[in-house]
Protein backbone atom coordinates (compact mmCIF):
# COMPACT_ATOMS: atom_id res chain seq x y z
CA UNK A 1 0.00 0.00 0.00
CA UNK A 2 1.09 3.49 -0.80
CA UNK A 3 -0.26 6.45 1.14
CA UNK A 4 -0.67 9.76 -0.67
CA UNK A 5 -1.59 12.94 1.22
CA UNK A 6 -2.91 16.07 -0.37
CA UNK A 7 -3.30 19.27 1.63
CA UNK A 8 -6.00 21.79 0.84
CA UNK A 9 -5.90 23.75 4.07
CA UNK A 10 -7.62 23.11 6.36
CA UNK A 11 -8.52 19.86 4.62
CA UNK A 12 -6.22 16.83 4.42
CA UNK A 13 -7.06 14.26 1.77
CA UNK A 14 -5.60 10.85 2.50
CA UNK A 15 -5.42 8.53 -0.48
CA UNK A 16 -4.33 4.96 0.25
CA UNK A 17 -3.47 2.97 -2.86
CA UNK A 18 -3.39 -0.80 -3.16
CA UNK A 19 -4.39 -3.32 -0.50
CA UNK A 20 -5.17 -2.30 3.06
CA UNK A 21 -4.37 -5.78 4.32
CA UNK A 22 -3.19 -6.89 7.75
CA UNK A 23 0.33 -5.62 7.13
CA UNK A 24 -0.65 -2.29 5.55
CA UNK A 25 -3.36 -1.56 8.11
CA UNK A 26 -0.78 -0.68 10.74
CA UNK A 27 0.98 2.21 8.97
CA UNK A 28 -2.39 3.34 7.57
CA UNK A 29 -3.99 3.50 11.03
CA UNK A 30 -0.93 5.06 12.61
CA UNK A 31 -0.90 7.83 10.03
CA UNK A 32 -4.59 8.61 10.53
CA UNK A 33 -4.28 8.87 14.32
CA UNK A 34 -1.08 10.88 13.95
CA UNK A 35 -2.86 13.38 11.71
CA UNK A 36 -5.72 13.83 14.19
CA UNK A 37 -3.36 14.04 17.18
CA UNK A 38 -1.27 16.67 15.44
CA UNK A 39 -4.33 18.86 14.93
CA UNK A 40 -6.00 17.89 11.63
CA UNK A 41 -9.74 18.49 12.06
CA UNK A 42 -10.92 18.09 8.47
CA UNK A 43 -10.02 14.81 6.85
CA UNK A 44 -11.18 13.04 3.73
CA UNK A 45 -10.11 9.45 3.08
CA UNK A 46 -10.47 8.73 -0.61
CA UNK A 47 -10.59 4.96 -1.18
CA UNK A 48 -10.90 5.03 -4.97
CA UNK A 49 -7.48 3.43 -5.51
CA UNK A 50 -7.91 0.77 -2.85
CA UNK A 51 -8.16 -2.82 -4.09
CA UNK A 52 -9.45 -4.20 -0.81
CA UNK A 53 -9.71 -3.57 2.92
CA UNK A 54 -9.55 -6.52 5.28
CA UNK A 55 -10.76 -6.47 8.90
CA UNK A 56 -7.45 -5.02 10.10
CA UNK A 57 -8.05 -2.02 7.84
CA UNK A 58 -11.55 -1.60 9.25
CA UNK A 59 -10.08 -1.71 12.75
CA UNK A 60 -7.76 1.15 11.73
CA UNK A 61 -10.72 3.12 10.36
CA UNK A 62 -12.75 2.52 13.54
CA UNK A 63 -9.93 3.67 15.79
CA UNK A 64 -9.45 6.80 13.67
CA UNK A 65 -13.22 7.38 13.60
CA UNK A 66 -13.48 7.18 17.39
CA UNK A 67 -10.51 9.49 17.84
CA UNK A 68 -11.98 11.94 15.34
CA UNK A 69 -15.27 11.94 17.24
CA UNK A 70 -13.51 12.59 20.55
CA UNK A 71 -11.44 15.35 18.97
CA UNK A 72 -14.37 17.01 17.20
CA UNK A 73 -12.64 16.34 13.93
CA UNK A 74 -14.45 15.56 10.70
CA UNK A 75 -13.49 12.31 9.06
CA UNK A 76 -15.24 11.62 5.78
CA UNK A 77 -14.84 8.70 3.38
CA UNK A 78 -15.35 8.62 -0.39
CA UNK A 79 -14.47 6.57 -3.45
CA UNK A 80 -15.83 3.20 -2.28
CA UNK A 81 -15.83 0.61 -5.06
CA UNK A 82 -18.80 -1.80 -5.24
CA UNK A 83 -16.70 -4.52 -3.56
CA UNK A 84 -15.51 -2.28 -0.75
CA UNK A 85 -19.01 -0.92 -0.20
CA UNK A 86 -20.20 -4.51 0.19
CA UNK A 87 -17.67 -5.03 3.00
CA UNK A 88 -18.87 -1.85 4.70
CA UNK A 89 -22.39 -3.27 4.49
CA UNK A 90 -21.42 -6.75 5.72
CA UNK A 91 -19.65 -5.16 8.70
CA UNK A 92 -22.49 -2.60 9.17
CA UNK A 93 -20.05 0.28 8.99
CA UNK A 94 -22.14 2.40 6.62
CA UNK A 95 -23.85 4.24 9.48
CA UNK A 96 -20.68 4.74 11.50
CA UNK A 97 -19.00 7.02 8.99
CA UNK A 98 -19.92 9.90 6.73
CA UNK A 99 -19.59 8.34 3.30
CA UNK A 100 -19.80 10.38 0.10
CA UNK A 101 -20.22 9.15 -3.44
CA UNK A 102 -17.78 11.62 -4.98
CA UNK A 103 -14.57 13.29 -3.92
CA UNK A 104 -16.17 16.71 -4.50
CA UNK A 105 -19.00 15.91 -2.07
CA UNK A 106 -16.49 14.51 0.37
CA UNK A 107 -14.41 17.68 0.25
CA UNK A 108 -17.51 19.75 1.05
CA UNK A 109 -18.65 17.45 3.88
CA UNK A 110 -15.19 17.36 5.45
CA UNK A 111 -14.95 21.17 5.63
Amino acid sequence: MELVEIRRDPLVIVEPRGRIDTVAAEPFGNRLTELIRSGSRHMLIDLQHVIYISSAGFRALLIAGKLAEESNAKLVLCGLSAEIKRLFEIGTFMDLFTICASREDGMVKAQ
Binding site: R19, I51, Y52, S54, R59, I90, T92, L96
Partner: protein, 144 residues
Protein backbone atom coordinates in the same frame (compact mmCIF):
# COMPACT_ATOMS: atom_id res chain seq x y z
CA UNK B 1 -5.00 -29.01 -14.34
CA UNK B 2 -5.94 -25.69 -12.89
CA UNK B 3 -4.32 -25.84 -9.51
CA UNK B 4 -1.79 -23.93 -7.48
CA UNK B 5 -0.02 -24.80 -4.23
CA UNK B 6 2.00 -22.33 -2.23
CA UNK B 7 3.96 -22.97 0.97
CA UNK B 8 4.81 -20.08 3.21
CA UNK B 9 6.42 -19.60 6.61
CA UNK B 10 4.21 -18.21 9.40
CA UNK B 11 5.46 -14.67 8.74
CA UNK B 12 3.36 -11.61 8.07
CA UNK B 13 5.79 -10.26 5.49
CA UNK B 14 5.01 -13.22 3.19
CA UNK B 15 1.22 -12.82 3.27
CA UNK B 16 0.78 -10.12 0.62
CA UNK B 17 2.87 -12.06 -1.87
CA UNK B 18 0.78 -15.22 -1.42
CA UNK B 19 -2.44 -13.22 -1.64
CA UNK B 20 -1.32 -11.68 -4.92
CA UNK B 21 -0.39 -15.12 -6.32
CA UNK B 22 -3.77 -16.63 -5.48
CA UNK B 23 -5.57 -13.55 -6.79
CA UNK B 24 -3.80 -13.90 -10.15
CA UNK B 25 -4.67 -17.59 -10.22
CA UNK B 26 -8.36 -16.79 -9.68
CA UNK B 27 -8.25 -14.08 -12.34
CA UNK B 28 -6.56 -16.46 -14.82
CA UNK B 29 -9.30 -19.03 -14.18
CA UNK B 30 -11.99 -16.56 -15.20
CA UNK B 31 -12.83 -15.20 -11.77
CA UNK B 32 -14.68 -11.88 -11.87
CA UNK B 33 -13.32 -8.79 -10.16
CA UNK B 34 -15.65 -9.56 -7.28
CA UNK B 35 -14.37 -13.12 -6.88
CA UNK B 36 -10.73 -12.02 -7.04
CA UNK B 37 -11.48 -9.35 -4.43
CA UNK B 38 -13.31 -11.73 -2.12
CA UNK B 39 -10.63 -14.41 -2.26
CA UNK B 40 -7.97 -11.75 -1.54
CA UNK B 41 -9.79 -10.46 1.54
CA UNK B 42 -10.59 -13.92 2.86
CA UNK B 43 -7.03 -15.17 2.45
CA UNK B 44 -5.70 -12.15 4.32
CA UNK B 45 -8.12 -12.84 7.17
CA UNK B 46 -7.32 -16.54 7.44
CA UNK B 47 -3.53 -16.23 7.11
CA UNK B 48 -3.29 -13.33 9.56
CA UNK B 49 -5.30 -15.31 12.10
CA UNK B 50 -3.05 -18.36 11.79
CA UNK B 51 0.11 -16.26 11.98
CA UNK B 52 -1.12 -14.25 14.99
CA UNK B 53 -2.61 -17.05 17.08
CA UNK B 54 -1.60 -20.44 15.70
CA UNK B 55 1.98 -20.53 16.87
CA UNK B 56 4.10 -19.50 19.86
CA UNK B 57 6.01 -16.21 19.64
CA UNK B 58 9.26 -17.75 18.41
CA UNK B 59 7.78 -20.86 16.83
CA UNK B 60 8.40 -21.33 13.11
CA UNK B 61 5.74 -23.12 11.11
CA UNK B 62 4.67 -23.73 7.57
CA UNK B 63 1.30 -22.89 6.03
CA UNK B 64 0.11 -24.52 2.83
CA UNK B 65 -2.34 -22.72 0.54
CA UNK B 66 -3.96 -24.62 -2.30
CA UNK B 67 -6.29 -23.14 -4.85
CA UNK B 68 -8.20 -25.28 -7.29
CA UNK B 69 -11.14 -25.10 -9.65
CA UNK B 70 -13.70 -27.84 -8.97
CA UNK B 71 -17.01 -27.95 -10.83
CA UNK B 72 -16.97 -24.26 -11.62
CA UNK B 73 -16.09 -23.27 -8.09
CA UNK B 74 -12.90 -21.81 -6.73
CA UNK B 75 -11.77 -23.93 -3.80
CA UNK B 76 -9.07 -22.65 -1.47
CA UNK B 77 -7.60 -24.87 1.24
CA UNK B 78 -5.39 -23.53 3.96
CA UNK B 79 -3.46 -25.94 6.18
CA UNK B 80 -1.30 -25.16 9.17
CA UNK B 81 0.42 -27.18 11.88
CA UNK B 82 -0.34 -24.68 14.65
CA UNK B 83 -2.45 -25.36 17.70
CA UNK B 84 -5.92 -26.77 17.02
CA UNK B 85 -8.24 -23.90 16.19
CA UNK B 86 -11.61 -23.87 14.51
CA UNK B 87 -12.29 -20.27 13.40
CA UNK B 88 -15.94 -21.20 12.83
CA UNK B 89 -16.31 -21.69 16.58
CA UNK B 90 -15.89 -17.94 17.19
CA UNK B 91 -19.05 -16.06 18.20
CA UNK B 92 -20.37 -13.61 15.59
CA UNK B 93 -19.27 -9.98 16.10
CA UNK B 94 -21.60 -7.39 17.64
CA UNK B 95 -22.51 -5.31 14.61
CA UNK B 96 -25.05 -3.08 16.31
CA UNK B 97 -22.85 -1.01 18.62
CA UNK B 98 -22.30 2.69 17.86
CA UNK B 99 -18.88 3.94 16.79
CA UNK B 100 -17.44 4.60 20.25
CA UNK B 101 -18.34 1.11 21.50
CA UNK B 102 -17.69 -0.81 18.31
CA UNK B 103 -15.19 -3.64 18.48
CA UNK B 104 -13.87 -5.55 15.52
CA UNK B 105 -13.15 -8.89 17.19
CA UNK B 106 -14.62 -11.63 15.01
CA UNK B 107 -15.04 -9.33 12.02
CA UNK B 108 -12.44 -11.18 9.95
CA UNK B 109 -14.18 -14.53 10.21
CA UNK B 110 -17.52 -12.80 9.65
CA UNK B 111 -16.13 -11.53 6.32
CA UNK B 112 -14.93 -15.06 5.51
CA UNK B 113 -18.38 -16.56 6.14
CA UNK B 114 -20.20 -13.86 4.23
CA UNK B 115 -17.91 -13.68 1.20
CA UNK B 116 -17.55 -17.41 0.61
CA UNK B 117 -20.35 -19.84 -0.28
CA UNK B 118 -18.95 -22.61 1.90
CA UNK B 119 -16.46 -22.71 4.74
CA UNK B 120 -15.49 -25.95 6.44
CA UNK B 121 -12.96 -26.71 9.15
CA UNK B 122 -11.36 -30.06 9.93
CA UNK B 123 -8.58 -31.13 12.24
CA UNK B 124 -6.66 -33.78 10.32
CA UNK B 125 -3.82 -35.45 12.22
CA UNK B 126 -1.80 -32.54 13.58
CA UNK B 127 -3.12 -30.12 10.99
CA UNK B 128 -5.84 -27.47 10.85
CA UNK B 129 -7.53 -27.53 7.47
CA UNK B 130 -9.88 -24.78 6.38
CA UNK B 131 -11.67 -25.27 3.09
CA UNK B 132 -13.32 -22.30 1.41
CA UNK B 133 -15.28 -22.32 -1.80
CA UNK B 134 -17.13 -19.90 -4.00
CA UNK B 135 -18.98 -20.28 -7.26
CA UNK B 136 -17.23 -18.68 -10.23
CA UNK B 137 -19.45 -16.63 -12.51
CA UNK B 138 -20.74 -18.77 -15.36
CA UNK B 139 -19.16 -17.52 -18.56
CA UNK B 140 -18.18 -19.53 -21.60
CA UNK B 141 -14.42 -19.89 -21.45
CA UNK B 142 -12.07 -21.35 -23.98
CA UNK B 143 -10.56 -24.66 -22.92
CA UNK B 144 -7.01 -25.40 -23.94
Amino acid sequence: MARVEIRLPNRRDKMSEVGAMVESFVRAQGGSGETVHDVGVVLDEVLSNIIAYGYGPEQAGEIVVRADIVDGRIVVEIEDGGQPFDPLSLPPPDLSAPLRERKVGGLGIHFVRQLMDEVAYARVGGTNRLRLSKQLPVTPTRRD
